[in-house]
């Protein structure tokens, strides 16, 4: 069977198994709270959330490629667009916008004004250095590494710290030129 034509984020999201976002939101929140208790240092919690995200991203990429019909992206620019419009939508039900490209086309910002991880969340004063959504940056880094793109992902804006949006800076460090592995239905 030929690879499916890439679908819109809405169509893909409509076709995946979905659950109540509250379960996801509260589970993630409880994990963050427990990590803060057990690891004590906010820095260490940021690191572990990123690591958890990375491991998830490494696994989610297969599901993403299989269900989205996306088989290969021409360049990093297209990749960023696919993450924002299809990736975020397929998993979290929200879309991001891609902005602030640098001249070389190797780094850009993904901007979200809403995301289900932060529903109900108000950070206590003791958590000023916490990147609450750090799992997301890990997921992006992990997933992109599986399609041969080494990236660095950092937070620029965070509404939990009073900013007007969530902004992730994605910087392409190295790209191994190679065909993306894509899955065909046999």
């Amino acid at each position: 069977m030929a690879p499916l034509a890439p679908r819109t984020g809405d169509a893909v999201f409509a076709n995946v198994e979905r659950v109540n976002a509250e379960l996801f939101t509260l589970t993630y929140g409880a994990i963050v709270r427990q990590l803060l208790t057990d690891l004590e240092e906010v820095e260490e919690v940021n690191k572990q959330l990123d690591q958890m995200g990375y491991n998830i991203g490494v696994r989610l990429i297969d599901e993403f490629l299989a269900k989205s019909g996306v088989s290969s992206c021409v360049d990093f620019r297209e990749t960023a667009d696919v993450i924002a419009k299809v990736g975020f939508k397929m998993f979290l039900g929200v879309t991001a916008s891609v902005t602030n490209w640098d001249a070389e086309g190797t780094s850009c910002s993904l901007v979200l004004d809403d995301n289900p991880l932060v529903d109900f969340v108000e950070l206590p004063d003791t958590c000023q250095g916490l990147y609450y959504c750090n799992i997301l940056s890990g997921v992006i880094r992990g997933a992109l590494e599986m399609v041969s793109m080494k990236t660095e992902v950092t937070w620029i804006r965070d509404m939990l710290h009073g900013d007007d949006a969530y902004e992730l800076r994605v910087k392409l460090l190295k790209q191994v030129p190679e065909e993306y592995p894509y899955k065909d239905d046999e």
């Binding site: 999201f13 995946v16 198994e17 979905r18 659950v19 109540n20 976002a21 509250e22 379960l23 996801f24 509260l26 589970t27 993630y28 929140g29 409880a30 994990i31 709270r33 427990q34 057990d38 690891l39 572990q48 690591q51 958890m52 491991n55 998830i56 490494v58 696994r59 989610l60 599901e63 397929m90 998993f91 979290l92 039900g93 289900p116 529903d119 799992i135």
Partner: protein, 176 residues
């Protein structure tokens, strides 16, 4: 219609949490890892019971609250009800799910941490590791049930029995 996310988000986060606690933070102290995983579930259950009982009359006894867990609560989480509820009428309830979603969904091999751990320790067979990982996983739903019932005014202990996979029985013992 409330907000939704892909089920793989929930599966991924739970699997990674269990893996982090068992293989990274408390790899040599499984009982501590178990307690933390249970505590995370407890908080989730505590909060969910608050949300899911919002529009309903108060329960008049323990059985009514347990039935709520079996029906509405379970349906919200797993899109199905508990298949079988048994009780000894002395404070012990057994809630059986014939096809527990979180057991049929977890792919043990896929966790990078777990692969590492099993490679390092070649003396223990992988199936043993898998069984241990599965039982670690169950502390999370046990915590959810305990958190939900505790918040409904029913202090209890909850354990899981998986001798009949993929069926899973949750044993609730109400504290007198």
């Amino acid at each position: 219609m409330g907000r939704e996310v892909a089920e793989s988000c929930v599966d991924g986060v739970i699997m990674e949490m269990v893996s982090a606690y068992c293989n990274r933070f408390y790899s040599s102290k499984p009982e501590l890892a178990a307690r933390r995983i249970e505590a995370i579930g407890f908080q989730v259950g505590h909060q969910l019971s608050e949300r899911y009982t919002m529009e309903r009359p108060r329960f008049s006894d323990h059985l009514e609250a347990i039935k709520f867990i079996c029906k509405d609560f379970w349906s919200e989480l797993f899109k199905k009800q508990i298949d079988n509820l048994k009780t000894n009428h002395r404070g012990t309830f057994v809630l059986q799910d014939n096809q527990f979603r979180w057991l049929t969904h977890i792919s043990i091999d896929a966790s990078p941490d777990n692969v590492e751990a099993s490679q390092q320790d070649s003396s223990s067979p992988t199936s043993n590791n898998a069984a241990q990982f599965t039982s670690m996983h169950l502390y999370f739903p046990c915590g959810i049930i305990r958190g939900a019932l505790t918040n409904l005014g029913i202090p209890c202990a909850v354990s899981a029995d998986i001798s009949n996979l993929p069926a899973c029985s949750f044993v609730v013992r109400i504290k007198a």
